[in-house]
Symmetry: C2
């Protein structure tokens, strides 16, 4: 009998990479999955320090959130027209947002992600060392990038992003990864974009960016450079397989082809695109061309939660509606997008995104003993993925494991203290609101 650290027993295992295993078990040693199979087989070959009884639960790879910003404000000044929202909420916030605010934001967002079954996320925002410090404690796999902005005023700059990469990349046994991050082709100069592309190559890391989120952006870039955003980014030599682009809502056929040819991956953010009235990204067309597409929640300002189940569901339903075809973007495609394809967006497909031997033990258990997840068919006519994608929600996640470490069990978070997080969040958000008011009054 081989000894392992943890065996998860009798789950309905949805490996994503291959067929569902009913009454399956998973052996974990250190931070890796070392065995996946029928419970009998696993129990004949392995014994463990600890067992988790997962009867009535589904085991899935943890979700990969391929686009988000760890923000502190939620439900704040909602239902405003876009320009009013940007001018009266976002800009004043950006001016007074502090390092301490970022720490509170990271605590709140990482706590929510653990409770939602997100095991890996990419953040593009401010003071990312704070996000890294929180990730050290929370236990989540974090891909962190600054959000470099030049226009209309400088916020994060290249040197702070370079310091982040130098000081943090590969920390926590590789669990913390740092990238470069540029806001967008319209908020950054050509010089910045090219410098960042060069540094990403030098440090061998990725680059995160927003592209063509709104029609206004496309029009602005057309006016400024005489071409569409993806064309412009391609012509200056910014695009490469290091680039992971959020949104990509408004693309010409030529631009879709360029994304494929340059191996740029895309984050699909359906809820945010609906809420901000941005538009509907041409995801079926991108997938047909072979572009790698992951799923993202975007920030709690524009979603307003970090529920990847809802994102899968809405992501599929929005395309069904838009293409007038209820058969498009199946629940299986959506689950793959939220896990393995997300991992591919972050160049982590060899390490995470599916329940396979040799991969990192990043997985979640979802409790199926809920009315909204019944009836449960198992065997040939099973409806497990159907129910998970089309009916489940973040609160159904029971257990969250990253690098073989249990971050949540029976919905109790082990690495962060919920009450302490709420206290910090309440204090900092009220303080941020007061500072915002000062700036708003001065203008």
């Amino acid at each position: 009998m081989e000894r392992v650290d943890l065996i998860i027993r009798n789950a309905i295992i949805i490996p994503v990479s291959r067929r569902i295993i009913f009454k399956g078990s998973i052996g974990i040693l250190g931070d890796r999955i070392i065995a996946v199979g029928k419970d009998d087989d696993i129990m004949n070959r392995y014994s463990a320090e600890r067992y988790i009884d997962a009867r009535g639960k589904a085991a899935l790879p943890g979700f990969v959130n391929t686009h988000m910003h760890e923000c502190l404000m939620r439900g704040f000044c909602e239902d405003l027209p876009l320009m009013k929202w940007l001018e009266e909420v976002c800009f004043p916030k950006d001016k007074v947002f502090s390092r301490e605010d970022m720490r509170a934001a990271a605590l709140l967002n990482q706590l929510e992600m653990i409770k939602s079954g997100i095991t890996t996320f990419i953040d593009i925002f401010r003071f990312q060392e704070e996000a890294a410090k929180v990730a050290m404690i929370s236990g989540l796999r974090a891909v962190l990038s600054s959000q470099i902005i030049d226009i209309p005023f400088k916020i994060e700059d290249i040197s702070s992003n370079e310091n982040l990469v130098k000081n943090w990349n590969g920390k926590a046994g590789g669990r913390i990864i740092t990238w470069f991050g540029v806001h967008s082709p319209y908020a950054c100069t050509e010089e910045t974009l090219l410098k960042v592309a060069e540094l990403a190559k030098k440090y061998d890391v990725g680059v995160h960016i927003h592209i063509s989120e709104t029609l206004d952006e496309v029009r602005l870039i057309m006016r400024r450079y005489g071409k569409r955003p993806v064309e412009y980014l391609n012509e200056i030599g910014f695009l490469s397989d290091r680039v992971h682009a959020a949104h990509c809502v408004h693309l010409s056929k030529k631009e879709m082809k360029l994304l494929k040819d340059m191996n740029v991956s895309v984050a699909y953010n359906p809820t945010s695109n609906m809420k901000l009235a941005s538009g509907i990204a041409p995801i079926p067309q991108l997938l047909k061309l072979g572009v790698t597409v992951g799923l993202g929640t975007d920030s709690i300002l524009s979603n307003n939660n970090l529920d990847m189940f809802e994102e899968m569901r809405i992501g599929s339903f929005l395309q069904k509606l838009s293409r007038k075809d209820p058969s498009i973007l199946s629940c299986y495609e959506m689950l793959r997008m939220a896990t393995l394809e997300g991992a591919r967006c972050l160049n982590l497909e060899h390490e995470i995104g599916s329940i396979d031997v040799g991969k990192k033990a990043d997985l979640i258990l979802v409790d199926l003993r809920k009315p909204h997840l019944h009836p449960i068919f198992i065997g040939d006519i099973n409806n497990i993925v159907e129910n998970l994608v089309y009916s489940a929600c973040a609160a159904d996640v029971d257990t969250t494991i990253v690098d073989g470490k249990i971050l949540m069990e029976n919905r109790e978070v082990k690495t962060l203290n919920e009450e302490e997080v709420y206290e910090i969040v309440q204090k900092r958000s009220l303080s941020l609101y007061k500072r915002m008011k000062t700036v708003m009054r001065r203008e």
Copy 2:
């Protein structure tokens, strides 16, 4: 000190009909709300048999689900083109669906609704006496109607619906209400539609119907009668203030005006309309004309859950996207649609839909102590409704009360046994599947 049965103390009360009360308490005597106010005031005037401490929770009127069918199958044969789905799933199911299946469906759906904070629902489906019997036990407020179909084959008929009305209307102290229900202008003959309108008048009850869910339906009615569905229904004399119409996705300006003039109310089912690729209902236009609009989940075949929070959120975001205006259908409008306006659709606005003295004690407590509901701002800059509508989910409902009776407390359902319901549902759904297969093979 006046004696009451129950006082809910120190909640954030969202009455819907008026301003939020922070640190508020609600006094309940029998099935009625007899006091709502600041905790100090209530505690000075009343003492109670029982107190519920609702600190950290919001009290809302229970949700009114204005369109649904209590179905048994979920996550079954998903992602099919519409015709294939109808022919291979829906029609075979309709042929073999039994009274016992309906009982299991009612158990499953009513259990889920209690857990989702839905206190009143309207069902239009089969064997509604079974739904009534389950509602007697579950404690939910139920508006039940048969789904009379003539074309292409007869399913429920007028006499079974009339029996339902005769035998069940007003049962359980008025908690069970029965209506007439006709499937649609395309699945019913003119004779049936008119007979039902006449009977509804005779028994002084409402009529539920689907109108203009898909473009195909509009085309079919145009071919058959040379006019659009609402025009046709108006010209034969079917429309009146008794009629509550689901969907209404494809309407001409003239039809919208007709709905208003005839005082027909509308159920908006955004998730179902997205999933089935039906289209986007012109809700802002209907509201502008003064049409009463409620919110509905539709069935678990087309949603696939009964989560009114998600329905509010998606209902708003879909219109923001469609109208290219993030300020349209605010969270306050959505909450009103899911409660008080829903009550108005069912002619129950004097009894339910808001937390007001004299109304039935149909209300829910939502636990705000969740990461996705933080930060919490209270007082002038509060974000409670914003967070409830744009971030909460069914699982956040902690307590569900109907007619002053606690149906769920701390997420534990008191009136139905969850394990027993699952057992019945598993058995009946497998049996239904086997019967469906027989029919499918024969064809």
